[in-house]
């Protein structure tokens, strides 16, 4: 990794905790050359228009992701409903053919509140930690979390209403998520209760899907309502401590989206569909520090940008595997 990418890596960790991305102070000569070449290049503009006219918008990754998300949650439901015992429990904690799996944030809450860790809890948490280090941290959010899917649909409604000028997106300070994470951790330690678990829409939804609906769904509805009429994807963007926990895991994960400066027309379609557009600051004209820039840990690896990019400048990558091939 070049010194510039290392600096960017650190910056992206700050962005994960809520800092706003900044203009890079230094850009590598190779990237500078491309930035320079793109300025006022008529061929490039013609090429851009051509690509625009022929772009085929695919939903490949979205469809795969939705299928995975629905399958994972359905497996929980069916395991109980049909008593096939493949994936027993809920998203907070479960057993996959007997192996303990425990959600990292729920485990953290329980450890902080109860202050006593039994072996099964440790084993389950360790297994899940390894799993999501391998698969990309916040990959959990977009590929497994049932609230994410509902919020994605709510976002579609929000965007439709916004287009009709009936609502406007009221954005907020992203540092709030870090503040929430700290508050809920402190509350767990101080009160001895897993306070966040009482309002976690992920836990509530997962249990509702498996054990049947309850009044707790009203809280989930309230969140969705807030997101449709007031603030786009507010819970996932500004509040959810689970996202931050998995984001931290994603710092060291090899699975990520990689950006290639060469073919990018800097039209920003990717930033429009992205849940966390601050991780895509590098696609803005003149910002990329290298020819290839990996996207930071707050990225949920949802692949919407990969689907929408007309030039294939954004793609999934497993760090190290390209070298092997």
């Amino acid at each position: 990794m070049s010194a510039l990418l290392k600096r960017r890596f650190v910056d992206q960790i700050k962005v994960l905790f809520g800092a706003e991305p900044t203009r890079p102070k230094e850009i590598s000569p190779a990237a500078q050359q491309i930035h320079f070449y793109k300025k006022g290049n008529r061929d490039l503009i013609a090429e851009k228009l051509h690509a625009r006219a022929h772009a085929e918008h695919s939903n490949k990754w979205r469809n795969r992701r939705w299928a995975t998300l629905i399958f994972a949650n359905l497996l929980f439901t069916l395991s109980f409903f049909l008593d096939i015992q493949i994936l027993e429990g809920a998203l907070t904690a479960s057993r996959f053919v007997g192996f303990h799996l425990i959600d990292l944030n729920s485990a953290l809450q329980v450890m902080l509140a109860h202050k006593h860790i039994i072996n099964n809890l440790l084993i389950g948490t360790g297994t899940v930690l390894i799993l999501w280090v391998l698969l990309g941290g916040r990959t959990f959010c977009s590929w497994v979390c049932p609230y994410h899917l509902l919020a994605e649909w709510a976002e579609k409604i929000h965007l439709y209403l916004a287009k009709k000028k009936l609502v406007t997106d009221q954005n907020m300070d992203r540092r709030l998520r870090t503040v929430f994470w700290i508050i809920f951790a402190l509350l767990a330690v101080a009160t001895g209760y897993t306070v966040f678990e009482a309002i976690s829409p992920t836990g509530i939804l997962s249990r509702a899907l498996i054990y049947g609906p309850g009044l707790a769904l009203l809280w989930v509805l309230a969140l969705l309502f807030f997101e449709v009429f007031f603030s786009r994807r507010a819970w996932c963007r500004y509040a959810c401590p689970i996202g931050l926990t998995y984001g931290v895991v994603g710092i060291v994960s090899p699975v990520r989206i990689i950006y290639k400066l060469d073919g990018c027309f800097h039209e920003g379609d990717c930033r429009k569909v992205c849940l966390v557009p601050h991780v895509l600051d590098t696609v803005i004209k003149g910002r990329a520090v290298e020819k290839e820039v990996p996207i930071g840990p707050d990225c949920t690896r949802c692949g919407l940008c990969v689907d929408v990019c007309p030039t294939g400048s954004l793609s999934f990558e497993v760090k190290g595997l390209s070298k092997l091939a």
């Binding site: 027993e88 425990i102 006593h116 954005n171 009160t191 306070v195 309850g214």
Partner: protein
């Protein structure tokens, strides 16, 4: 706004002082952020209210830690729900506040009859909320500990006849003696709890392994002793001759120390409302 414009705007707002409209926007954003903070924290902290106002304690599954430790350690996954053969365990809803998603037993609707033979809910628990062995730093309340491991009548003749339980989850008490059929010297004939009752119970005479509906097992007893005859734990309850204040002799169910609080007596009690109830989290008092 195209990317170019936004870029230019970003670049320009770093040098000159922030414009009035931008400052206003920023202030509104801070306000909104504070609003969301308040909303989410308010919702989270309102979870404490039911704990403060709780009228009646929940009966927790076997092996449960004391209520506060239980709420702090339960990860709300419902694995205990999934292993229970009689579906005695249910998950609490929003009205339980901080206890949302935690397991409880409503013994009148479906008691824990130990038809799993081995308190499987404890085995299923991933966090030790339900536990065979309480960690050393958690004290055992006086009277909560069982004098001996409870002997399950169903497997009394097995090499290992006991349940791996060290503390009771509650204690049965004859809360409405005036309604008790035994005390009145009455018998009982028919389906206890009526034909529509969905509760299940393991009847050793019907099937050693499979619990059946209570409604499928009608009774005909000259003197009601349903709570005693269906109690799954050896020596936990018996019909005794007691003396009433006026000196007259009566029969009455009497609860003994081995009672673990499973609730089968409450479930099968034929009078409405039940004459015998489980006091959740209660300890044995002499």
């Amino acid at each position: 706004m195209s990317e170019d414009e936004s870029l230019r705007k970003k670049a320009s707002d770093t040098t000159p002082p922030v414009s009035i409209s931008k400052r206003q926007t920023n202030r509104r954003r801070v306000l909104r952020t504070v609003l969301l903070t308040g909303g989410v924290l308010g919702a989270a902290l309102s979870g404490f209210l039911p704990l403060v106002y709780a009228q009646k304690k929940r009966l927790r599954p076997p092996g449960a830690l004391d209520e506060k430790d239980f709420l702090g350690s339960c990860i709300k996954c419902g694995q205990c729900v999934q292993v229970c053969p009689v579906s005695a365990i249910k998950l609490a809803d929003l009205i339980d506040g901080m206890g949302v998603g935690t397991p409880y037993i409503d013994p009148r609707a479906q008691a824990c009859d130990f038809s799993c033979d081995a308190v499987q809910c404890i085995l299923a628990c991933p966090t030790g909320s339900l536990t065979y062995h309480k960690p050393d730093f958690l004290p055992v309340r006086p009277g909560a500990a069982l004098a001996a491991k409870p002997i399950l009548i169903a497997k009394e003749n097995d090499p290992e006849p006991t349940l791996n339980m060290h503390e009771r989850i509650g204690v049965a008490r004859l809360t409405r003696p005036e309604a008790c059929l035994a005390i009145q010297g009455k018998g009982f004939k028919g389906q206890t709890r009526g034909p529509d009752f969905k509760g299940q119970l393991r009847y050793m005479t019907v099937d050693r392994w499979k619990p059946v509906k209570v409604s499928s097992h009608p009774y005909d007893v000259a003197e009601c002793d349903l709570c005693v005859r269906e109690c799954p734990v050896k020596g936990a309850i018996s019909i005794e001759t007691v003396f009433a204040p006026d000196g007259s002799q009566r029969k009455s169910p009497v609860v003994h120390e081995p009672c673990v609080g499973c609730g089968v007596c409450e479930m099968v009690c034929p009078v409405e409302p039940t004459a015998i109830t489980i006091e959740a989290g209660e300890v044995w008092k002499l």
